[in-house]
Amino acid sequence: MRGTSRSRVTRLGLMPPLSAAILGALSVLTADSWLLLLSGGALGLLVAAFVLRPRVTELRVVATHPRRCQVGEVVAGTIQVTNTGDRRSSLARVTHERTGLAPVTVLVPPLGPGATAEVRVERLVLARVAGTDGTSTTVSSEPLGLLERAATGPSPTDLVSHPRLVPVLLGPLLTAEEGQGRAVASRSGLDVHGVREWQRGDGTTQVHWRSTARRGRLVVLERETRIGVGLGLLLVGPPGLPSWEPLVALTASTAVTAARAGRRVGLFAAQPGLAELTTGDRTGLLDWCAALDEPSLPPPALVALALRRVGSGGELVVAATWAPPAWWASTSAAARAAGVRLQVLTSEPAR
């Protein structure tokens, strides 16, 4: 296992030398060799623990689980442990920790060289996250629990955990027919709008390989999208408050409900590396929400982009628990100018 390792004497490990000292002293005081033999036996435990000290650094841990899941869901996965060394490993506890998932600890029996042990585990999805992350910690104090060795190393897994969906009513939002009727595509959507650098959420089919080869980094082709999507969701936040996650869950649920009704939904947030997304695909919408980290207050340019994508007659839903009054004023003015109806989605009662 690549990473760090440490060794320490456990509390139980202090008992043998203490017992040996006491028995040795008693042996001298009483001139009794039996007690000296027992004292040697106590020291023998300590030496045996050192000679047979656990081997954990050669264990490689691989965790698997579904790539996509939802917060609150229990997902089934596996923990695979392989002994990459040339000697038998020790009985060990392996703990896999990964952001967004409950940590899991499994017991791994002694493994011969090259052997693999596998166990199926069920883990609770704790938080919304997207990305590759994970560490594993292998701890063993075989055979007597006197000397403990631990090794920590990377054991990354790819995870996109969607926010937990909540029931929503479209309420004042337009129905699918109404939305489709108002949102008129002004362009075919096949015309090339331009190229830009790859951002989280872009699919591999969007990559423009020729430009990528030329520039040496991933470049995607941005096509002209249909304007007049009709429904846009602008995440404002602010993040970090207890109401942030419920707000994201509410936004995701609204987007999914609208998409299920046949609407294409535009998602906007001021987060570096997270491009705006316009789609009717449920998975895409949820992936985008999963990638939300801590967006800042949307700048006027992003608001303008959202209004343009929504198009005249469409509706822009601002998901926010709080925003500066000036921002509200400017956004309202811009929406009025663009002919877009502005609505507010919040996870807290309006003040």
């Binding site: 004292s39 023998g44 899991v104 002694p110 011969g112």
Partner: protein, 688 residues
């Protein structure tokens, strides 16, 4: 706290093994107590049965109701034992003093052990049980004078190590949510999980015991007592600790003789005498028996220096020195204590150094500083032989102290004496009857048990232990004869030495001996040795006894201890080497598989194989040395390069490819294969 249940199974759950190991440690602790004399063996057996029953009950009745009942029973039992010990200590401790604390503490521990056996539910309970068992072992080891505690120690020590190992595994099991299964490795003859765990336990026990023994051998032995004296029950001179006094060759030179003394005598030469001058060389006689020891009642009546080296007439002989005389020259060695030994009644001693009479029968020489001296002794030989003694008759005109017996002598001894001598027609026949009885019913054992305090030593020898050495045989005969009204006394000295090349007999310390002298009217004192011909105790010939004897000789020297430690280290290294060689051979015979094991079965590689097949069909197969990147560059298909990268990731990356990406790449490979077949990809890039 991990609750141990019996319903769990599998190689990782060692609940049953842990329970068994704990019970073994507990039994070892219980049986170590009688070895140190703290608890009676019968009580130990009953306690062991109760403990096993309690441990079984803790398994059998594991329901909440059963647990509660066991807990109540355990507390009640502990309170009862505590009360008993408390009352006993309050009433009897004042009499016995601190020496009575050991048995009370042992009794309390036994009670606690049985009470705790009822509540062996969790890992913590089991560890407490091990601790109590070990504490009993420590207590017994600290108080045991002999090797009897070795058995419980040899069993209890490894069992305690096994307990620690298994308890650790149970603890580990309680900290995890699942246990991994090892994938089968077909054709690899390596031990499975169970075998590995058992082997690891065995290695742990072996290493800890081996290291503990080596450490014990290398550590300096405690001062005051040698390891031999403690471990093997032998008492060195001057070892007077506890209730068992020691003895040596000087013990047989008169004064007194304690029948409860034990210890080895050594092999130093004391005197050498001409061959054919008699087997029993008497140094002193003892006439008063008090139930535990023999004493010389005339010791205090020293008569001062002898004029001309002529001994006084023994008043017990009635002033009639009769019979043939014999003169022998005796050479004394450094171990000679100064007491004149002679094969009969001394009538003259000629020596360079002054001769002193110590009492009626003990003659002493003043030893020169060199320790070596010589003297010539003239004796009247005693009357011996059945023919000569059978015809002797007459009344006993002798001092009454030669028929003295303690008033506390048990009646059964007197009854036995009466039974043995009832049919004897004369004194010689009565003596032979007693000798025959002792030789037939008692065993010779130098490590015979010591009579309990307050018990008559002869009674204990005749009716309880049935084991003893020359002192006990001679004492028993003297007491039985006195009980039958026949005057007798205890003689001490040297007997049955080893011949030398110059025709002399050497008497060593180990030849110190005790026998009986019986009074025959008109003939005087005649020797009788009931020890000669007695059966040896079978324990002396056992393997354990021989092993103990060998260990004793090894532990007696620092060099031999170091040598033994070195041997054990070599043994450990040899074992380690054998394991390493076997492991290397296994690795050589069954090399580890390399590369991704999933390769042949993963759908992604199957799709790539289809693409390779398609290329073969169109006549542009993948060349043997063509890498994935080169192949991607040769085929102008934009979707192919990401798919090949995904395949590369599946091959070499630490993290497996997500299923969705693998499926996407698989589709891309199949699409590429389809396009190759359909001719849509016709513009193969020529390789540079």
């Amino acid at each position: 706290m991990n609750r141990i249940t019996t319903s769990t199974s599998g190689p990782y759950v060692h609940a049953l093994g842990l329970r068994i190991a704990v019970v073994v440690v507990g039994l070892a602790g219980l049986y170590s107590l009688p070895a140190s004399g703290l608890v009676q063996p019968a009580l130990t057996t009953v306690s062991a049965l109760l403990y096993v029953a309690a441990a079984c009950a803790s398994v059998q009745y594991s329901s909440p109701g059963g647990h509660k009942a066991r807990k109540v029973l355990s507390i009640a039992w502990l309170v009862s034992v505590g009360l008993y010990v408390g009352i006993t200590s309050a009433s009897g401790l004042a009499d016995s003093g601190p020496a009575g604390l050991g048995p009370l503490l042992a009794l309390l521990l036994v009670g606690l052990h049985i009470a705790h056996g009822l509540v062996l539910n969790s890992r913590r309970d089991l560890l407490v049980g091990v601790t109590v068992g070990l504490f009993m072992l420590v207590l017994a080891s600290g108080l045991s004078p002999g090797p009897a505690v070795a058995g419980p120690l040899v069993v209890g020590w490894p069992a305690a190590v096994v307990c620690l190992v298994l308890a650790h595994r149970v603890q580990e099991l309680g900290l995890v949510s699942a246990v991994a299964d090892v994938r089968r490795q077909p054709g690899v003859p390596r031990p499975g999980v169970q075998g590995a765990l058992v082997a690891r336990t065995a290695v742990t026990v072996a290493v800890s015991v081996l290291v503990g023994t080596i450490v014990f051998l290398l550590l300096p032995q405690p001062d005051g007592l040698s390891a031999r004296s403690r471990l093997l029950g032998g008492q060195q001179p001057g070892d007077q600790q506890g209730s068992t006094p020691g003895r040596d060759a000087s013990f047989y030179s008169g004064g007194s003789m304690n029948l409860n003394a034990r210890g080895s005598l050594g092999s130093d030469p004391v005197i050498d005498v001409p061959a054919g001058t008699g087997e029993l060389w008497r140094s002193a006689v003892l006439d008063v028996y008090d139930g535990t020891s023999w004493n010389d009642s005339g010791l205090l009546s020293a008569s001062g220096d002898l004029v001309g080296g002529v001994a006084p007439i023994d008043p017990a002989d009635g002033g009639l020195p009769t019979g043939p005389t014999l003169t022998a020259d005796v050479r004394a060695y450094a171990a000679f204590q100064g007491v004149v030994a002679a094969p009969g009644r001394v009538v003259r001693v000629v020596a360079d150094s002054p001769v002193t009479s110590l009492g009626e029968s003990v003659l002493s020489l003043t030893r020169p500083p060199t320790g070596q001296t010589a003297y010539t002794v003239t004796v009247v030989l005693p009357a011996t032989g059945s023919r000569a003694l059978t015809g002797i008759s007459g009344s006993d005109q002798i001092d009454g102290r030669f028929t003295q017996l303690p008033a506390e002598l048990p009646t059964r001894v007197r009854e036995l004496a009466a039974t043995l001598t009832a049919g004897a027609p004369n004194r010689a026949a009565a003596v032979r009857a007693v000798e025959t009885y002792l030789r037939a019913n008692e065993r010779y054992d130098l490590a015979s048990p010591v009579a309990p305090d307050g018990e008559d030593a002869v009674d204990d020898f005749l009716f309880t232990s049935h084991a003893g050495f020359c002192e006990h045989f001679a004492s028993a005969e003297a007491v039985l004869l006195r009980a039958a009204g026949i005057p007798a006394r205890l003689a001490t000295g040297f007997a049955y030495g080893q011949p030398l090349q110059d025709g002399r007999i050497v008497m060593r310390s180990a030849n110190a001996h005790a026998w009986v002298e019986v009074w025959y009217p008109g003939a005087g004192w005649s020797p009788s040795d009931p020890t000669a011909g007695a059966a040896l105790a079978p324990a002396n010939t056992s393997v354990l006894s021989r092993l103990t004897s060998w260990l004793g000789s090894v532990l007696g020297s620092a060099w031999s201890r170091a040598l033994l430690a070195l041997g054990l280290v070599a043994l450990g290294l040899l074992g380690w080497l054998l394991v390493r060689v076997r492991s290397r051979r296994l690795r050589a015979a069954y090399p580890l598989p390399t590369g991704p094991r999933e390769r042949p079965t993963h759908p992604l590689f199957a799709a790539f194989a289809r693409l390779e097949a398609a290329l073969v069909v169109v006549g542009r197969p993948r060349e043997p040395s063509e890498s994935l990147a080169e192949l991607g560059g040769r085929l102008p298909d934009p979707a192919l390069a990401p798919a090949l990268r995904t395949m590369e990731q599946q091959c070499y990356a630490l993290v497996p490819v997500p299923v969705e990406d693998a499926q996407h790449a698989e589709r891309a490979l199949d699409d590429a294969a389809a396009r190759v077949i359909s001719g849509s990809v016709v513009a193969f890039v020529t390789r540079r």
